[in-house]
Symmetry: C2
């Protein structure tokens, strides 16, 4: 029995959207699920208790960052990432692959792994399937991601094929290197924007029988239509009894589309990053809190939201904090935005269970994209 | 009956240090008391609930900052500063005088008041006793500070005398302008480093019968010995049944000396400012959290501290957060440092009540100043 299992509760007959339960060594959580990102062992500006209170129950840690600083051996010595950062929920760690490949000229890929220079001090470092597994075992995350190569967009067919096949070989090496029974290793489907390569990648990874699968190499600059086409093509071939994770996606419109295509899990820095820019996420679209329209507004960021920020503070106050560069303002917005995505995934789940996800999606997109505008026209 | 009253509980027979209770419309609090600073309507990085939990019960707001942004009329419209910032404890607001005079060349003082340029947008602004009272009434603070002129150090006798006498005239204008019965107006003793002017200032202000007195114009660059000499000379002449407030002082060594001289109230940005620089305050002196000595340290910042940071996080983790520029690290250090000053003032109070303040002071100073060094020599 794997450390990670997925229980399918309901598939929406119209769209294929799924409601399920993700079982981990640190709790069982309803899906679709959004995972707040704690890149360096902290969800930026938010305490573990606040993440819990806003409904977050599985967070993401970044292998690349923690490998460089403070180093996985230190985290292990301190009792693992859960204990180090005082988080008793579940943790998913990525493999470091995506960050390393994003370094561009600063890294060199061979069959063995990737040599790169640290963005912190320029020192030479090496990541490979075996090193990534070792780091993730040191961190002690519940869900471990295979070390893959993220194919850039655009990429020619030959490159994409060679890379996809190497990702499979690396996935096998990850599986061999992962010796901790308390951690579940997810495979990552690649294949670029080529359907036959996506099919090949799925087949090879499913043969390796991972407890979950991520769809990688999407949201890397391709048109959204192409992304959804690839997603649909890929997800349809994934086993029904395993969770499906779309990495790095966190805008509500992308979430609802991906859920429609059968995705269960998401992570993204988007909600906390835009919060630090003074932007709030709402069902009607984004609110730029600096705008003068909020100056005298006694209402919370969003009526009906039950987050700490909306329960206690006015738009006028949050606008003041953002303008005055008070970090408490960024905390309030981070809490609100993360809570918004929890409420949003919970609403999607309810709609799936009640067989009205198609309507939910249409109404949401209409309101989210045109909501603010139509209100102005009232 | 004034909105603010002071109850003297005990005077240490050896030193004259006082334990008392400060009664405000938002609660009664033991003194000596340290007030965390919430310059712009937020104690930097710390929520109101966290301030409460760490023992803070009266915070300071800055008239200068709130006057410029968001403006006191907006705060009034939003229900006052307590409601605006979700703080149900007490609030003391300064008069704006200190900040305005600190602007140097950017301001011009006349008998009527001070014309200055905003540091935010350069626009021309005017503060006077009447304007300061109006702003502080809009803010609705429990304790209002008179609009005074802070005499720089050094200053010649003639200047100091003229300025001190104007501060008295302004104090009278403040008293006339303050019409809110729920707010207590404190006078501010000036007089520079001249004992006869200090005596004159005390006499004139005591005649105006304020519910509390601040000692102003100290800790402005003068040698510490001179500061304590002036403090001692001034405080001795203040009425016993009124609280005494030393503005802008927040290092433990200054606090213990000032308490010895009969001061009851303090405020300072020091604990939160050094926290943002990665420094922790402890009974043994300051800890620079970035230092490599903390790399593997599983201990809390300070053994025996009951703050949120010390209950849940290791020095190793906090060091990591500080090095990685994670704002959660600054929050943990801010909470710890503010809690440290609460524990410190509580310990002073206990020592006063138990008539052992003199010993407490000597032991503390010995440990605080030489503690870390002697431990290294062990």
């Amino acid at each position: 029995m794997s450390a990670i299992t997925y229980e399918l509760v309901k598939t929406d007959p119209e769209t294929g959207a799924r409601a399920g339960i993700l079982h981990t060594p640190h709790g069982s959580f309803p899906t679709p699920i959004f995972m707040p990102v704690g890149t360096q062992g902290s969800v930026k500006g938010v305490s573990p208790e606040e993440v819990k209170e806003l409904g977050g129950n599985i967070i993401l840690g970044n292998t690349y960052h923690l490998f460089l600083r403070p180093g996985s051996e230190l985290v292990k010595e301190m009792g693992g990432l859960h204990k180090f950062m005082n988080w008793d929920g579940a943790i998913l760690t990525d493999s470091g692959g995506f960050q390393v490949f994003s370094l561009g000229e600063l890294r060199k890929i061979t069959e063995e792994g990737v040599t790169f220079r640290s963005h912190i001090d320029g020192s030479k470092k090496f990541l490979s399937p075996e090193v990534s597994m070792k780091v993730q075992m040191d961190l002690g995350s519940d869900i471990v991601m295979a070390f893959d190569e993220c194919i850039p967009y655009p990429a020619d067919y030959e490159y994409a094929k060679r890379s996809t096949e190497r990702t499979t070989r690396w996935a096998k090496r990850c599986k061999d290197a992962m010796t901790s029974p308390d951690q579940g290793l997810f495979g990552i489907v690649q294949g670029g924007m080529y359907k036959d390569l996506r099919t090949q990648s799925v087949k090879e990874l499913v043969e390796l029988d991972f407890p979950g699968y991520a769809v990688g190499g999407l949201s890397v600059g391709e048109p959204k239509d192409l992304m959804y086409e690839m997603l649909d093509h890929t997800v349809k071939q994934l086993p029904e009894n395993k969770p499906r994770y779309l990495m790095g996606v966190g805008t509500p419109d992308c979430l609802v589309e991906a859920v429609m295509h059968g995705i269960d899990m998401f992570d993204c820095v988007f909600p906390t990053r835009v919060a630090r820019n003074g932007t709030a996420m709402t069902w009607d679209g984004r609110l730029v809190m600096k705008n003068s329209e909020h100056t005298h507004d006694k209402r919370p960021i969003e009526e009906g939201c039950d987050c700490y920020a909306c329960r206690n503070y006015s738009r006028a106050y949050i606008r003041h904090l953002v303008r005055a560069n008070e970090i408490f303002g960024l905390r309030l917005l981070s809490i609100h935005n993360l809570r918004f995505l929890q409420r949003f995934t919970a609403a999607m789940r309810e709609a799936i269970i009640e067989e009205r996800f198609g309507n939910f999606r249409r109404e949401f997109l209409n309101n989210y994209i045109y909501g603010s505008k139509s209100k102005q026209e009232d």
